[in-house]
Amino acid sequence: MMNIDNIRERLREADYVADDALATALQLALNLGRPLLLEGEAGVGKTEIAKALATVVGTNLIRLQCYEGLDAATAIYEWNYQKQLLYIKASEREESSAKAVEQHIFTDDFLLERPLLQAIRQAESPVLLIDEIDRADEEFEAYLLEILSDFQITVPELGTIEAKSVPHVILTSNGTRELSDALRRRCLYSYVDFPSQERELEIILSRVPAIERDLAEQISHFVLNLRKEDLEKNPGVAETLDWAAALLGLKISSLDGDFETIQSTLICLLKTETDLKSITPDVASRLIGKAA
């Protein structure tokens, strides 16, 4: 059983800086063996958590990206029809009995594993990331619930496939659709917020190791204040890292240096026209003044 400090340390080694709430959530998810639902704005690092967790537990990551119209064939399994047909054609010459052929073409060799089936057939518990579950249809959500509670999948031709190992399930949602209460109840829950200044500083330092500490500190302050401005789309952690890398690439060592270049690099952080317009040079210099 891992404790929180232990987990946080190992996440740190996987270049993920987690706060107390998140580390606790991961610890509970691992220890109780329950799925963990992560919500939060885009760009706060929800998907990254799953990747980091896979590194921590030392298993592979299986990812299922949800979208509208996602169905069982793309999420669970599908028979490889082409291969089956070719096999039937080939076996016509060998004059094997129809029964033998039939028995053979409905075996594992002809089964295409999709992420969910793949996840429960691993020898060692993998991390199963079900990304943006809110984009999938409600029917799929219901189906998913069933799999998440029993961890078994029934293939009519093969029978029921039991899980060899129970995967660590992480679900993420951006809140474009209200999820069902049933799903919420089955999962542990964590709301991932934008990081505090200290945490963001740590994140920059670990992800962009070449950066100098002073600049990283300025960046973290700047972004923190920028998020307090009235923006349509708040810059996420990924944007901060982009910006840090951009500044590093342009060899800028401090935010109070070349103002025009810095102003033009703000496109790394601001992703809509209104936002770009609302952060005028005046506002930008005020924010830089605060950060420096």
């Binding site: 509970l28 109780l32 919500e39 809140g175 209200e178 109840r185 999962c187």
Partner: protein
């Protein structure tokens, strides 16, 4: 309190350990605050915090992860936790220490609600009544108008008198008719549908592979009904208070008849009331709504409220088939520019905006307030809504939208 050992799985611990009783109380406390939790959660909660009973913060995080399920709950949790375990919050009288907490049925509500629910009795004691005149009238430029409205009411039948059961039922029925008039809009695109009339060629061919190229299983498709999503904003400021009760009924009718509806109360800030309104117990829902509405009675800041909506809820509750309905008299104490920019942003996400203004029914009334003038360009349908008749009249027009 002595720490609990590892014998939590034994069932009797739930009855005998002092912590267990406290935990049951805590879960109850959360349920009072709209958390959806079952007995299984209580057991897991005890199991989870049982092990290293050391740092308080640790237990809090664990319970938070376990017991919350949505962003609002996540934000609320810390306060509730402190209120219960550290008695730092506002104490609710006695109910949490009742001996037979678990025997309490859903009907027996905490004391906090008792006095308000007694409003079912005609006198109602100190229960809030929106119709009550007096405190919290509108300040500023709107107050002059309000006096004028009161004078008018003596000669006209106006909505403010509709408070009895029959009228409320009529309002609900009307809301239902309106709702069904515009509930569905046919989609242009086709989707897989077992009873569809047209053949889905791509899928049929794909499936025919399984039978060696013979299309044995046919897939069909049809144009699906796509439910229209409705978002209602009800202005409950002082100037609207004579209509609030009726409109609350109307909103309740809309939200209950509609699968995808969202309701918000607007005064100087925004409150999401969808879940309250959905409550099956009509009296309870109305009382709670009135309570929420009662705190207001002041000015309206539509612009700021909409800004809050755009920032917090818009992404989730609006889609390309949304109809936004604003029930307000347009007496706005906030800035009109802000209202205009927020409406503009709102219109980017929602294609239709309906504004129902109760004052529009009066002959002398002209929608000339700053707010109304600023909002007009963004409104698709602007109508009066001060009598049941006028509400019924807009049905065909709404259906045509």
């Amino acid at each position: 309190m002595e720490p609990i050992g590892h014998d939590l799985h034994e069932k009797n611990i739930l009855q005998h350990h002092p912590l267990a009783a406290r935990m049951v109380g805590f879960i109850d406390h959360l349920r009072m605050n709209e958390f959806v939790l079952g007995p299984a959660e209580t057991e897991t909660a005890l199991h989870v915090i049982g092990d290293p009973f050391s740092v308080e913060n640790d237990a809090r995080h664990k319970l938070k992860v376990l017991l919350t399920g949505r962003p609002e709950e996540w934000r609320q949790f810390d306060d509730l936790f402190e209120a219960y375990w550290q008695a730092a919050g506002k104490a609710r009288p006695s109910w949490q220490h009742e001996k037979n907490v678990r025997n309490r049925t859903k009907a027996s509500l905490p004391n906090a609600w008792q006095e308000h629910l007694s409003a079912q009795a005609p006198e109602g004691g100190n229960a809030p009544q929106i119709e009550a005149p007096g405190e919290g009238d509108v300040q500023g430029d709107a107050s002059g108008r309000l006096i004028a409205t009161e004078r008018t009411s003596r000669v006209r039948t106006d909505l403010r008198q509709y408070v009895d059961v029959d009228e409320i039922r009529a309002a609900e029925k009307l809301a239902y008719q309106l709702a069904s008039a515009m509930r569905y809009r046919l989609s242009r695109r086709h989707r897989l549908d077992r009873r569809g009339r047209r053949l889905d060629l791509r899928r049929t061919i794909r499936q025919s592979l399984a039978s060696g190229g013979e299309p044995l299983k046919l897939s069909h498709r049809a144009r699906p009904d796509r439910p229209v999503r409705l978002v209602v904003f009800l202005d409950v400021s002082g100037s609207m208070k004579h209509y609030s009760r009726f409109f609350l009924q109307f909103v309740k009718g809309l939200v209950c008849q509609w699968v995808e509806a969202d309701a918000y109360l607007v005064h100087t800030k925004l409150i999401r009331v969808t879940d309250v309104v959905r409550d099956k117990n009509s009296t309870k829902a109305m009382t709670r709504l009135s309570l929420m509405a009662d705190g207001f009675g002041g000015g309206t800041k539509l612009g700021e409220s909409l800004a809050q909506f755009n920032a917090q809820y818009a992404k989730r509750s609006l889609n390309s088939r949304s109809v936004v309905m604003i029930l307000s008299d347009g007496y706005d104490t906030g800035s009109a520019d802000l209202l205009a920019t927020q409406l503009k942003q709102l219109k980017k996400r929602a294609p239709k905006l309906i504004w129902l203004n109760p004052l529009l029914g009066w002959k002398t009334y002209e929608p000339v307030t700053d707010a109304m003038t600023a909002a007009r360009p963004y409104i698709d349908f602007f109508a009066a809504a001060n009598t049941l008749k006028s509400l019924a009249a807009i049905e065909p027009e709404i259906a045509a939208l």
